[in-house]
Each structure stands twice: as C-alpha cells, then as structure tokens.
Symmetry: C2
Subunit: 228 residues, 2 copies
C-alpha cells in the first residue's frame, strides 16, 4: 500500500517529521498536496473527522492524524521503533512536539492567526526566553536520552529522525545561538549526522522532495530573533 | 499494583487529565506529591530520564510521561479505550493537548517563566483571539467527534473524561464567553454531564482529592481576559 500523506506543499513544518520517518524507513507514500495543491489539502481535510489539521495520513478507511500519533502508528506497523520502548519513545516524541509548539510561539506569541509583523516586539521577548532557557532545557533532556548510537540504543527509530529535524531546524532559526551551545550536546550532534547519513535520508536530502527551510514554516530565520 | 502519580500538589493542571481517567476507571493510585510535597516532586523527576516534566506515572521499573502517552498506556493496560479506535482516540487526546497548550499561552504569551502580571497587555490580545477564533474551532471539532453517548460510541473512554475537564476548565476561565457559545455544542455539554455522573467521577468531585480551579493552574480565571 502507498500511504497518502496530506500536508502543506510549500513548507517542511510539522509534516516533515512524518516525511523523514517514511523516507528513512523506505515506506512508499504520496505527498498529495504537493501534487494537488493547498486547496485540495483543505478540501480533503473535511472528509476526515479524525483530523483537526494537517498533517494526516490517509488509510484505506479513515485517517491517522497528529504527528506523534502518526509516528507511533508507523512505528508499530512498520517496526520503526522497538516495541519494548514504545511508551518511552512516544513520550520523547511528545516532548519534541512541545518544543515545536514553543518554537512556533516564538514568532507568533500573541495570536496564531496574526502575522509575525504584527507581533514583532512580543516575539523579540519570547525569543530571548526561548534561546536562553528553553533551548538548553530541551536539548539537555534529549542529550540524556541518547543510548549509544541511537535513542533506542542499537537501532534508529522515528525519534532519531525527529531529533535530526530539531537540530537542523534550530540551526536554521538560531544560527548564532546554536553555534554557542552545540558543543554541550555532543551525542545529539553525532546523532544528527548519523541520521543524515542513513541511506533513505541521504537520498531524500538530495532530492527535490526536501523543501528548503523558509519563513513560512515552523522554524523561521528572523535575524533579529537570534543572538549568541 | 497501586500506581504512583507525580504531579504538582496544589493545582489540577495537566495532571488532572490523568487523575480523572484513574478515578473514572477505579484504578488504584497514590498522588505522591500531595503526600510528600513539591520538593519531593522535583527531586523524584531527576530519577526518570523519560520524564521532561510532571505529570508522570511511576511503574515497577521506569516511568510513563506526557499526558497523552499516560492515557494511551492506561487505555491499553486497563481497557479505558476500545482497541479498534486507539489511533483515533489518541489523535483526539493530542488535539486536547494542543488546546491546553494554547490555553496556557493565553495567560503566558511571551514567556513561560515570567509572571502573568508582566505580560498582561499581551495576554489581553491573546485572549481575544483565543475566545473568538480558537474556542469555536476546537469545540466544533470535538462536538463532531461525539458518536452517540460517548466519543467512542457505546462506552466511555479517557477522551470523554478529558473533554469533561476541557468544558469545566473553559467555563471557569471564560464564564461569559462559554455562556454565549455553549448552546452550539449540545452533544459536548451532554457528554460533560454524563462524565460528571459516572460513579467514579461523581465520588471524586465530592472528595478532597479534587483540587479547586485556581489561578496557578492551566485554566485561570482572570476576569479581564473574558468577554461575551
């Protein structure tokens, strides 16, 4: 079966965590809105009461929505995570989701539906707290979770591909800050490089399926929000 | 086995979603920090690399962290959710988690670690957007998810106890706004009342185990943030 993934066609965003797991696992999927456009994405959402928002994965009947849920599902069905660590890995993925929500909140602190340009002063304040307090707290937690080469120990799981994206995203969004703190998280940085070298991921990153980071996604580079 | 739940002892907060499922299911647990205090809570957190923050459930070995993960776990082990709907229910619970994060963001838009008093102007702006746009969007989604008496159809699940808490929390936080919009969500309000009448929940709500809503928790009543 080829999965039908639905997500915004012009950003990495939350959908990227799903794309990376599918690509690393060599699992066939169609990135539907990249073929059919954003209008089709929103029209299709109405068919699935399970889904509050993209991304979601369409199955033969119904859909699986919410990033951590999709990854838990893929982990179980395609063995992308050791079953005896499934609760631990889901907890870690949910903590990554918390980080992602806080990252979005940095550039949209006051209103999800307003433009960044209308909340720049508040974003500057939010960015300072995020850079100085939250980045070390989250990365320290994830550093402690690496057991050997991978989070699960001897084999990669969807949490590793997600942590790759966290590091890549934070480097794009906060290049100065990350240059300052990266040295504190050697296991996490080595894990990022190990994920980038997985055959499925190496091929994906070279392909046009990997959308470049941009200021419409979750991780956004606004130079005024960065500092060492 | 008696579960050992660890969460802040003086608020409902995120821990309440776990407490409600345990109480409704008649599952034995100790609310450890209510006996040992907040200092013990933080000291104990250091023992469990799985847990980024409270709440977490201590098992014989290790811990299960993150509200939606704890509920998924309890659902599987104690049959608090029909197995054939597990991905759908987890997706709904994760959308409840998104709502809870946005609720917290209303009174802490700029910095998690600053006081509400230091971000009141921004909170007023955030509250307006949340009241007018997000409450109808989320409640409409949950209203559509009710299938008969319960979300899963013929029996209650942890998503029902969580939706009870969402309605109770929003009523406390935004009494004026909820009075205006509640009529649009008859299935959700009926479900709230049905959960309140479950024997385990009815007994819990009468007990001193149910902490009252207050302005230290997630749902906070600041009259200046409410409007019809």
């Amino acid at each position: 079966m080829t999965y039908r993934l639905w997500y915004w066609p012009s950003i990495q965003g939350r959908g990227e965590f799903v794309r990376l797991a599918l690509e690393a696992g060599g699992i066939a999927y169609t990135d539907c809105a990249r073929e059919q456009g954003a209008k089709a994405l929103m029209a299709n959402l109405g068919k699935h009461e399970e889904a509050f928002a993209p991304p979601y994965l369409e199955l033969e009947d119904g859909a699986v929505a919410q990033v951590a849920n999709i990854l838990f599902y893929l982990g179980e069905v395609h063995d992308l995570a050791p079953a005896d660590q499934k609760w631990r890995l889901n907890a870690l993925q949910l903590t990554i989701a918390d980080l992602v929500a806080e990252v979005h909140n940095v550039h949209h602190p006051v209103a999800v539906s307003d433009y960044y340009e209308d909340q720049k002063a508040e974003a500057a304040r939010a960015a300072k707290g995020f850079r100085e307090e939250r980045i070390p707290k989250f990365l320290g937690h994830f550093e402690d979770a690496v057991r050997g080469d991978w989070v699960a120990g001897e084999r990669w799981s969807y949490v590793d591909t997600s942590l790759f994206q966290v590091i890549a995203g934070l480097r794009y969004m906060f290049p100065q800050r990350m240059a300052t703190v990266e040295g504190d998280y050697p296991k996490l940085i080595a894990l990022h490089d190990r994920v980038a070298a997985l055959p499925g991921i190496a091929a994906y990153l070279q392909s046009d399926r990997r959308i470049a980071f941009n200021t419409e996604g979750i991780f956004r580079h606004y130079p005024e929000l960065d500092a060492a």
